[in-house]
C-alpha cells in the first residue's frame, strides 16, 4: 500500500534529520548557481568531515537571489539554536561556517531574516523551495508530498476533486486569470477516451523567473498537480513544455519523473489504483509566442509554433485534436496544497475575486531582487517598498507588470491592491508575475520601445496586423525616442495601437500595444517632450515647416 510506503519514507527521513544537530542548506537553483554556489556546496560537504552531526544538502531557491549564494543553517543544539542565513557565501567561507556551528554565527556573512522580505510573505507554492533537496523524492514525501494525489485517487471521485478546485477559487496563474475549476470542468465533460494535460512552462516573459524557480526547487509539486488534474479530467498522458533556455529545470524534472515512476506515484497504476498517468517533457526552442496555448500545442506536435483562431478552445480540440487541459506551472503547483488542506482553506486567503497567493519575481532597480510569494490583495507599495526594500536611489518611478503584454504603473498608484481586476483597471495585467521596478533614470518611451522591439521580433508572422503593425509601431517609437517625430506621428502610433489590439489573431498581437498605451496614459509628457513640435508654447509643426521652407533658397 502506498500510504504505508509514504509513512515509511517519512519516518526514515525524520530519523535521518533527528540524527543531525545541524542542517546546512545551500541554494543550488539557477540564480545562486550562477554565482558558483556549487563550489560552496562542495566545500561545505568536504569540510563537515571534521564536524560530526552535521548534514549538508543542496536546496532550491530561498528567494533573495541578488544576495546569492545563500546558505541557511538550522541548528537544534548549541548556544544559538534556530536558523541563521548567510549571504554572498564563497567557497573560502565554508570552514568559518562549519567552525561556527553550535556557536556564534559568522557575523560578516549573516543575513538578517527578521526583515519584511522574509516575514511578510505567505508561502504556498514556494513552501518547499529552499527547504528540500529537489533531487530527492523522499524529502518531498516527508513534507506531505504526494498526499494530495493519494487522497484524490484513493478517496475521491474525479468530480469531487474538481469541486474542491472550484471551491478554492483558484484562477489561472499564467496571466489570464481564467477560473481553473471551470477549465477542468469543461475538459472533464468532453468525451474521451483520449485526453491530455499540458503544463505550460514556457516562461517567455523577459524578467520573470517564477516558473523556473518552482521547477528547479520543487519539481515534484508540479508533477503532483498535473497528476491530480489528469485524474480529475480523465487524461492519462501529460506533457510539460519547458523553455529550452532552462537546462537545469529540465534536468531536475527528468530526475523527478524517473523517481516518481519508480515509486509508483506516476506511470501506470498510480498509487496502486487503476489510474495511469505518464508525464513527458517537451523542450521549447526559443519562441515567445509558444506561451500562447494553441501555438504551444502546435510546437508539441513538432510544428512551427503559430497560433490558430479560437474557438475551438483546446479544452475541446487540443493536442492532436483531443480535449486538452492547459495550465501554467504555478497553477499546478497550487493544486497539491488545495487537495491537502481543502478548497475552503485556500479561498480564505486573498481577496474576494482573486484567491490565494501569487508568486512575483522582483527585478530591475530594487534592493531585494528575487522571488516572493504574497497573498492576493497586498498593495504594490507593500510589495515594492516593504518586501522589496525600495529603490536604491530612492526615486521610484514606476513598476512594469505582465511583461510585453502588460503595462507600467506609476508610483502614484502604488496603493492599489494586487489582484487581477485592479491591475487591469490600471491598464496593466497580472501576467505571469514579473515585476520590473524602474527608477527615474528609465525613460518610459525607451521602455515602450524595448517591449515593442520584443514583440516585433517575437511575432510569429501569421497574421498581418501583428507582423506589420509591430514593425511600424517600433519604427514610430524609435523616431519619437530619437527626437525626430512630430505630433502626427504620435497620432499614427495611437491609431496603430488601436488597430493591432483589435485585429490581431492571438494574445501576442492583441496585447503588444499595452506597454505603449499604459506609458502614454501615465507618462504622456515624456512622449511630448521628445516631439519636435511637442512643446506647449505653440511652435506647431506647420510653423516649423514654414520656417524650414523659408530657409530653403
Amino acid at each position: 500500500m502506498m500510504i504505508e510506503r509514504f509513512e515509511e519514507i517519512t519516518t526514515e527521513e525524520q530519523t535521518a534529520v533527528a540524527e543531525h544537530d545541524h542542517t546546512v542548506k545551500v541554494c543550488v537553483a539557477a540564480g545562486c548557481l550562477s554565482s558558483q554556489s556549487d563550489q560552496v556546496l562542495d566545500a561545505l560537504k568536504n569540510g563537515v568531515g571534521e564536524h560530526r552531526g552535521c548534514h549538508v544538502k543542496g536546496v532550491g531557491c530561498m528567494g533573495l537571489c541578488s544576495q546569492g549564494p545563500l546558505v541557511a543553517v538550522e541548528s537544534k543544539t548549541g548556544a544559538k539554536s534556530g536558523s541563521v542565513m548567510y549571504q554572498n557565501v564563497k567557497a573560502e567561507d565554508a570552514s568559518d561556517i562549519i567552525q561556527s556551528l553550535g556557536k556564534k554565527p559568522v557575523a560578516r556573512l549573516e543575513l538578517k531574516t527578521n526583515v519584511p522580505f522574509f516575514q511578510r510573505q505567505t508561502k504556498i507554492v514556494l513552501e518547499n523551495c529552499g527547504e528540500i533537496d529537489p533531487e530527492r523524492i523522499e524529502e518531498y514525501i516527508a513534507v506531505e508530498g504526494y498526499q494530495g494525489l493519494l487522497t484524490a485517487v484513493t478517496e475521491m471521485s474525479p468530480n469531487e476533486v474538481i469541486d474542491e478546485i472550484v471551491r478554492s477559487g483558484l484562477r489561472g496563474r499564467g496571466g489570464g486569470g481564467y477560473p481553473t475549476g471551470l477549465k477542468w470542468t469543461t475538459v472533464a465533460k468532453m468525451d474521451g477516451p483520449t485526453k491530455y494535460v499540458i503544463c505550460n512552462a514556457d516562461e517567455g516573459d523577459p524578467g520573470a523567473f517564477m516558473d523556473r524557480s518552482v521547477l528547479e526547487s520543487d519539481p515534484h509539486r508540479v508533477l503532483e498537480g498535473m497528476a491530480i488534474a489528469g485524474y480529475a479530467v480523465g487524461a492519462t498522458e501529460g506533457y510539460i513544455y519547458v523553455r529550452g533556455e532552462y537546462p537545469l529545470a529540465v534536468e531536475r524534472l527528468k530526475i523527478a519523473i524517473r523517481q516518481a515512476n519508480r515509486l509508483g506515484v506516476l506511470g501506470s497504476k498510480v498509487c496502486g489504483t487503476t489510474f495511469d498517468f505518464n508525464v513527458h517533457i517537451r523542450l521549447g526552442a526559443g519562441a515567445f509566442v509558444c506561451g500562447e496555448e494553441t501555438a504551444l500545442i502546435a510546437s508539441i506536435e513538432g510544428k512551427r509554433g503559430t497560433p490558430r483562431p479560437r474557438p475551438p478552445y483546446p479544452a475541446e480540440y487540443g493536442l492532436w485534436g483531443k480535449p486538452t487541459l492547459i495550465n501554467n506551472v504555478e497553477t499546478f503547483a497550487n493544486v497539491p496544497a488545495i487537495l491537502r488542506k481543502g478548497g475552503a482553506w485556500y479561498a480564505g486567503i486573498g481577496t474576494e475575486k482573486s484567491k490565494g497567493t501569487k508568486v512575483f519575481a522582483l527585478a530591475g532597480s530594487i534592493q531585494n531582487t528575487g522571488l516572493i510569494e504574497v497573498p492576493m490583495g497586498m498593495s504594490l507599495r507593500e510589495i515594492i517598498f516593504d518586501i522589496g526594500g525600495g529603490v536604491p536611489n530612492g526615486n521610484c518611478k514606476a513598476v512594469q507588470t505582465g511583461g510585453p503584454s502588460g503595462g507600467c504603473i506609476p508610483a502614484d498608484y502604488f496603493d492599489t491592491p494586487v489582484d487581477y481586476e485592479s491591475l487591469k483597471a490600471l491598464g496593466s495585467i497580472m501576467g505571469s508575475g514579473g515585476m520590473i521596478i524602474m527608477d527615474d533614470s528609465s525613460s518610459m518611451v525607451d521602455v515602450a520601445r524595448y517591449f515593442m522591439e520584443f514583440c516585433m521580433t517575437e511575432s510569429c508572422g501569421k497574421c498581418v496586423p501583428c507582423r506589420v503593425g509591430t514593425v511600424h509601431m517600433h519604427t514610430l517609437l524609435n523616431k519619437i525616442y530619437t527626437g525626430q517625430a512630430r505630433r502626427h506621428d504620435l497620432e499614427t502610433l495611437e491609431k496603430l495601437c488601436d488597430l493591432v489590439m483589435n485585429t490581431s489573431l492571438c494574445g501576442l498581437g492583441q496585447t503588444a500595444p499595452n506597454p505603449v498605451l499604459s506609458t502614454l496614459r501615465y507618462f504622456r509628457h515624456e512622449y511630448m517632450d521628445l516631439l519636435v513640435d511637442g512643446a506647449e508654447d505653440g511652435r506647431s509643426a506647420t510653423a516649423v515647416d514654414a520656417q524650414l521652407l523659408e530657409a530653403q533658397p
Binding site: 540564480g31 550562477s34 523577459p206 520573470a208 523567473f209 523556473r212 519562441a287 513538432g302 512551427r304 527585478a363
Partner: protein
C-alpha cells in the same frame, strides 16, 4: 502520430549520428519528435547543416519544407556554425534596464560584431537571449556556457579576452 520503423543509414559514420538516431528511436520515429530530434542534432553538431536537415526529414517522413520551416522558426536553432567561443548576452527587461545595451555596444566596438554574428576569424560569436532567468544578477552574459552576472562593459570584455586567450594557449 504515425510511427515509422524504417531506419535510414546516417549520412556518415560519425558517432554523433548514433545519439541522433537514439532520440528518434526513443520517440518511435514519430513525426512529432521533429523538434526533439533537431535539439539533439544541434547539441551534437553545434548547428543544423543541410545534410542533417535532409536526414532528419527522411527519417521522420516529414517534408523537408517543414523541417526547414521549423528550424528557422525557433531562435535556438542555428543553421550556421557558431564561433569557437560564444557570448550570450541577456536582453531581458531586468538586464536591459541594468545596462545590457552598453554590453552589446562594447562588444560591437571591440570585436566588430553585432548580435547573431561571428567574428571573421571564427573565434567569437555574439548571441542574445530573452532572459536567462538570473534577473537578480543583471546584466548577465553567458560566456561559453558559464553565467557571469553584475557585469560592466569592461568586465565583460576582460572576461571574453580571458577565455579566448586561454583557448589559444
Amino acid at each position: 502520430m504515425v510511427s515509422n520503423t524504417r531506419k535510414l543509414e546516417p549520412p556518415s559514420d560519425d558517432k554523433r549520428w548514433r545519439i541522433v538516431v537514439g532520440t528518434m528511436r526513443r520517440n518511435g520515429f514519430a513525426r512529432h519528435s521533429l523538434i526533439e530530434t533537431l535539439h539533439t542534432v544541434q547539441e551534437s553538431f553545434g548547428f543544423l547543416d543541410e545534410e542533417s536537415l535532409h536526414y532528419v526529414a527522411e527519417s521522420l517522413r516529414v517534408p523537408l519544407s517543414q523541417v526547414y520551416g521549423v528550424s528557422t522558426f525557433y531562435h535556438l536553432f542555428s543553421l550556421k556554425p557558431a564561433g569557437k567561443h560564444t557570448c550570450v548576452t541577456c536582453t531581458g527587461t531586468a538586464c536591459y534596464i541594468k545596462g545590457a545595451p552598453q554590453l552589446l555596444a562594447a562588444i560591437a566596438d571591440k570585436h566588430g560584431i553585432n548580435p547573431e554574428e561571428t567574428t571573421e576569424d571564427g573565434n567569437l560569436s555574439l548571441l542574445t537571449a530573452r532572459c536567462v532567468g538570473s534577473c537578480g544578477l543583471g546584466p548577465v552574459a553567458v560566456v561559453d556556457g558559464e553565467v557571469v552576472g553584475k557585469l560592466t562593459p569592461d568586465e565583460l570584455l576582460a572576461r571574453l579576452q580571458e577565455v579566448m586567450d586561454h583557448h589559444d594557449d
